[in-house]
Amino acid sequence: MALAQRTRRNAKNNNFVGYLFISPWLVIFLLFTLIPMLASLFLAFTDYDLLGSWRFVGFENFNRMFRWDFRYLNSVRATLKYVAFAVPLRLVFALLVAMLLNTTHRGLYFYRAAYYAPSIIGGSVAVAVMWREIFGSEGLINTIFRSDTIWLGDPRFAIWTLIILAVWQFGSPMLIFLAGLKQIPRDYYDAAAIDGAGPVPKFFRITLPLLTPIILFNLIMQTISGFLVFTQAFIVTGGAPLDTTLFYALYIYNRAFETFEMGYASAMAVVLLVAVALVTALIFLTSNRWVFYASENA
């Protein structure tokens, strides 16, 4: 009793120590995240080239973005196409392989490592360089399939090489699915088997509903990272051909650090932030229609 009281009294007296402990994060957050974000918001309404002085331009940057800048619209189109294909495909692969690995067979340790390996190196320049050579006109793919397709130079195909690269790296969502699959009690499947359910009904009636919270989590994280893809496109295609792989982050980089249009690039970043927030919110809002929380019905 005395202890509980003491702990509670202490609970009120620890503001100083508490803030001292979180100060590393808090200070850096204020200096390098919050203030820059507010600055971005301000810069978005200016014209600033880093050398001269800035000039307030009102909504001109946004006007330019949505009305005149065809490259900007190209980048939006490319990014949406990438997210729309890469994210669902990656999640489907991740789930299928996770189910394949959710067994008691021997050697799972090895398989799990093999399937995850591409993901740990996926963001590296080495892999991007490798990918460029694999899809080069005299590269590995054309040699194996005896074709002479110009994968990286053809507006129809270039984005697909990057989508395939993304799907190849399904490791993290796979591991998260695998952990989720292990949580599903065996009894459910046994009971279904007694009722005569085959593998397909088992999947749609048991596995899939019980995994929906994890699918939601993976979907949100993967969608956000899909919107921000940069390194692979920068190295493999550089945004070409005809801007079909000019992803949003790549275009921001071009405007900010190649032509030094800091104001315009900030405006694009602000729109990106709003878009990511909206898409995340949208996924959350629809989630109560399809996400099933077991505890509610228990």
Binding site: L100, S124, L140
Partner: protein
């Protein structure tokens, strides 16, 4: 013990038929296992093929590399690619690039993990006004695109004269990373409070509890955080690309990009060799610490 009634069909069978039945079941299981390993194994091979191809190409000679392109076995092992590649470009060898990468990844990881552990303890064990609010803010930053921070950050660092130094890469790490803070908070919440409270009664300060009681128990979480931090800094491309323009300061990622520039590149064996080499630290850590990695991802959904 269980007294399960025998299945009438099997119990009536003569013992010979019973063993035959057993072998048949075993054979079927064996066949299933074989089929499973064949399928999963082939898929694993397809997944690993590009990586194996990269390593194989790094050992192919100049005459071999584009003629014998799809083979995973070099006609003749050509180790010379590695010394050739190591020479780098512009008179700067890869020794410099590796040193730079190790500075970034080493100090960056040290800073990020230390700061994350301290902050996580504050969030997990100390009550203070505004805790819930700041914790929610921290979780929100998990989803924050780096693009909205990087432009003003760049302007500030440029004004400070920090372009072409490691400060813009390392100083933000002093705040820890939201992912690690979240993971360590979860971990600390799993540690029983008894020891904390006993120490508190004995007059131990919060700092004392952190260093003497919590920190030693955090080892698995800290290792997981360190591995991810190393990966992310080692493979980071955007930050060095923006802040480091002097080739002497290039990290391995930046150097590889310049070295493999399709407009200038000629010695592809050497390029593949340096690309392969840059993956070695990543794979080495993966092989030795796979357990921590898998745990980290499965429990927090870390990237």
């Amino acid at each position: 013990m269980s007294t399960k009634p025998l299945d009438p069909k099997t119990s009536l069978l003569p013992s010979q038929a019973l063993t035959e039945h057993k072998t048949r079941t075993r054979n079927r299981q064996l066949r299933q296992a074989l089929l499973y390993h064949l399928g999963v194994g082939i898929l694993a091979f397809v997944m690993l093929y590009p990586i194996l191809w990269l390593f194989a190409s790094s050992l192919k000679g100049p005459s071999d590399i584009w003629t014998n392109i799809s083979s995973l076995i070099p006609q003749e092992l050509f180790f010379q690619n590695y010394p050739n590649g190591w020479k780098g470009f512009g008179g700067i060898t890869f020794a410099t690039f590796y040193r730079n990468s190790f500075i970034y990844a080493g100090f960056g990881t040290l800073f990020a993990v230390t700061a994350s552990a301290i902050t996580a303890y504050g969030f997990a064990r100390i009550n203070f006004v505004g805790k819930r609010f700041w914790f929610a803010v921290m979780l929100t930053t998990l989803m924050l695109p780096i693009q909205v921070q990087i432009i003003p950050q760049y302007i500030v660092f440029q004004r400070l004269g920090w372009l072409n130094t490691f400060y813009p890469l390392l100083i933000p790490q002093l705040g820890g990373r939201a992912f690690f803070i979240f993971m360590i908070v979860q971990f600390i919440r799993g540690i029983p409070r008894d020891l904390d409270e006993a120490a508190e009664i004995d007059g131990c300060s919060k700092a004392g509890i952190f260093f003497r009681i919590i920190l030693p128990q955090l080892k698995p979480a800290l290792i997981t955080a360190a591995i991810f931090s190393f990966y992310w800094t080692w493979e980071d491309f955007l930050t060095p690309l923006i802040y480091l323009n002097n080739p002497k300061l290039y990290t391995v990622s930046l150097a590889l990009r310049t070295y493999a520039d399709p407009a200038a590149a000629t010695d592809w064996g050497a390029i593949f060799a340096m690309a392969s080499l840059s993956l070695v630290p990543v794979f080495a850590i993966f092989v030795f610490f796979q357990r921590y990695l898998v745990q980290g991802i499965s429990t927090t959904g870390l990237k």
